[in-house]
Symmetry: C2
Subunit: 429 residues, 2 copies
């Protein structure tokens, strides 16, 4: 079946590319089936007179590319639990389908439901690329702050930012947590973020924490002249999040940490356009691995945490660094950051590679990402032999040295905490 409509102006389609495993001779029909089935359905059954109006909404096959030739012998090695009776002709291929932008309604749910709704359940298939196109991007505002807005807010014009992660929050009262905040802030953290699993609504509510920690941050600013932002975990019933976000901004939050995958992209998108949400939105990647983790199913990480988060208006995206404890391969991480910064109508997003970061890794992170990034650390701040202040201070010394082109070993000669950190965790070479 050949679809007759011509391509429209550039950008009026969203182009999704799927990696599939299928019989080579079935690919063309399958691609047509997707283009039509996920848009206008069985339109050919309609009376002739009605078809032109419907065709405006029809998808188009943009490409079919076979990635490998059939290799029956190799199949058993690449497919977990494959039950195929016949292997001949099976190939891995990429199918690209263009969906008219006016099929969507300005929500990310409408995009996901269309391009990977039913299709997500159709055997071995993975959404590997999603070219949103300018028309669709312009329907969203994107990040309110982006890299420059965050730098302006914190008065840090060019170096990487240092973020410290709260550890062991659950069950501790606000006074106790305030002490922990103060240590991290005094050590030199630009941002201190909540644990994403902190959902207290009784012994230490987000409002209580923001009130206490922003007072503590002012103390540190008076002591040191440095601004420290507290990224508070935005939690609660979905419909109450916007009110709470506004309240937390009023109370002095430095940023809002948000479990955007667990809550839904469209909630993030509405927070981003809310004029009373006056601080950056920091996305935590919780649950995202359930979408991107498999090589053969789900959705690529640079879509889940990259292009869709930027579209929805994330200012900061935390993601697993290639060097730590919970890792994303380096090439995937770079693609993800690429999506956060690619040419687009939207501001670039600040990436925060995370999990198992220690001072010795700072040169590698800056070499990979440049200075527009957040060095996000937990264990190597809290576990520093000299304590939390030394832990944060060692990171800041590593950041300063890296930006100045000094080696960490050289810098450590005049910085005890950095020397001890390098001794404990190494230099990441």
């Amino acid at each position: 079946m050949q679809i007759a409509n011509e391509p429209r102006e550039k950008g009026s389609y969203v182009v999704a590319t799927y990696r599939v495993r299928d019989m080579q001779e079935k690919l063309a029909a399958r691609a047509e089936g997707i283009a039509v089935g996920l848009t206008v359905g069985s339109w050919t059954d309609l009376p002739q007179a009605k078809q032109p109006a419907v065709l405006e909404y029809c998808g188009q096959v943009r490409g079919i590319r076979v990635l490998d030739e059939a290799d029956p012998g190799a199949l058993g090695e690449t497919h977990s639990g494959s039950q195929d009776q016949t292997h001949s002709g099976l190939v891995t291929a990429e199918i690209s389908i263009a969906y008219p932008v006016h099929n969507f309604n300005g929500t990310i749910a409408s995009i996901l439901t269309t391009v990977f709704g039913k299709l997500s359940m159709d055997g071995e298939i993975r959404l590997v690329r999603l070219d949103l196109g300018e028309t669709l991007q312009r329907q969203f505002q994107g990040p309110k702050f982006g890299v420059t807005g965050i730098r302006d807010m914190l008065h840090i014009p060019d170096r990487p930012l240092l973020m410290s992660i709260f550890k062991a929050c659950l069950g501790r009262n606000v006074d106790d947590l305030t002490d922990a905040f103060l240590e991290q802030a005094r050590g030199g953290a630009d941002l201190v973020k909540d644990d994403e699993i902190f959902f207290s609504e009784d012994y230490a509510t987000p409002e209580q924490r923001v009130t206490a920690f922003s007072r503590a941050a002012r103390e540190v600013e008076i002591e040191t002249g440095r601004k420290v932002g507290y990224a508070v975990n935005l939690t609660g019933p979905a419909s109450k999040l916007a009110d709470r976000a506004r309240r937390l901004c009023d109370l002095g939050a430095g940023a809002l940490l948000f479990n955007a995958v667990a809550y839904g992209y469209d909630i993030l998108a509405e927070l981003a356009v809310d004029p009373d949400v006056t601080v950056p939105l920091m996305v935590h990647p919780a649950v995202s691995g359930a979408l991107y983790g498999s090589a053969t199913h789900g959705i690529a990480s640079d879509i889940v945490l990259g292009s869709l988060m930027r579209l929805a208006g994330a200012d900061i995206v935390i993601y697993p660094s290639p060097y730590g404890s919970v890792t994303l391969p380096r090439s995937e991480g770079l693609r993800l950051v690429g999506a956060l910064r690619a040419d687009s109508p939207h501001k670039p997003v600040l990436p925060a590679p995370s999990a198992g970061i220690y001072p010795g890794l700072v040169p590698k992170l800056v070499s990979d990402l440049g200075t527009d990034c957040i060095v996000n650390a937990g264990g190597a701040i809290h576990g520093h032999p000299g304590g939390v202040v030394d832990g944060a201070s060692a990171f800041m010394a590593a950041i300063t040295a890296t930006v100045q082109g000094t080696s960490l070993h050289e810098a450590a000669e005049n910085h005890g905490p950095l020397a001890r950190a390098l001794q404990k965790w190494g230099t990441g070479q």
Copy 2:
């Protein structure tokens, strides 16, 4: 590290079971790392006096079970893209962790973020079971209608329901769509559902459709005495969904179709407790395959579409039947339906096995699920040789025969449309 706290009363924990691939000798430490790391973190660093308060929130290892022994030779065959350098000692195992219910805040985001947030990104790991426990379940209202409520509403005391799926919606105006609705309703469909990809906000808004179709449904009720419910796709910005849902109820919607995975579970949960949402919530499984599709990553389908949907308050869950075009293995489908019906404080949910359903499959569906199910069909209604009315009528004849214990072939002797359907699509044997 051994955690000292004793199990509390039954049900005050949520127990998550993960399937992992790891070195056998590392499993115990990994399990402890999850139990502690995803709850209280590095609590042992706290002063002794503060530890008891924190321990209240600590997770517990409930079990570690090795599923297979190390088999270096088999590894390459069962693992896609495995890059392990050393195979010895690698096993597949299940780790069960209990999380205190008071770590959560009554949102599904808090549960998912805790039990499979960071962990979802930690290599080859899949959330395979989630025992919510009664304490947590009682924090949610669950389905407002459930099986009995839906049967009461439609005046169908015991047989399977027939639902017809709109096809080719995009680009068609309300008059046109009303004709299509009428055909499906006249043929005998109890419910007519929107295409889940229908997001029109201009040429045929949900409000316009509900207004027109509920008028059409009244016509059919006058003609035939049968009630027909229209399941309208609930779409739009996240914060406007509740208002729209209430409006659509007022205008006469029969049910609300909702892309709950794309929007987020907590939005569904709030719709379910809204007293002005006065019709059943029907969950479409769009995007769910991105979570459950892989055998080694993500989250099992009976959690994604089963227990979590029931917790959030779905009245009907659509899922891929094992017999159609987009399929879930039969055992998985039965587990999913099991979760929709298991003993719990919540009403049972009506399952709607879907995709590629034809009349010949009705006996199989009823044999698998009993009569408390929805026979959900699109192509085999719209593609019936005699037209849509015959298509729906053939299904209803198959349902009636199955409930009465008559074979479809016998029933077809006195029912032309059923005979033609069996001839076209077979008997599903």
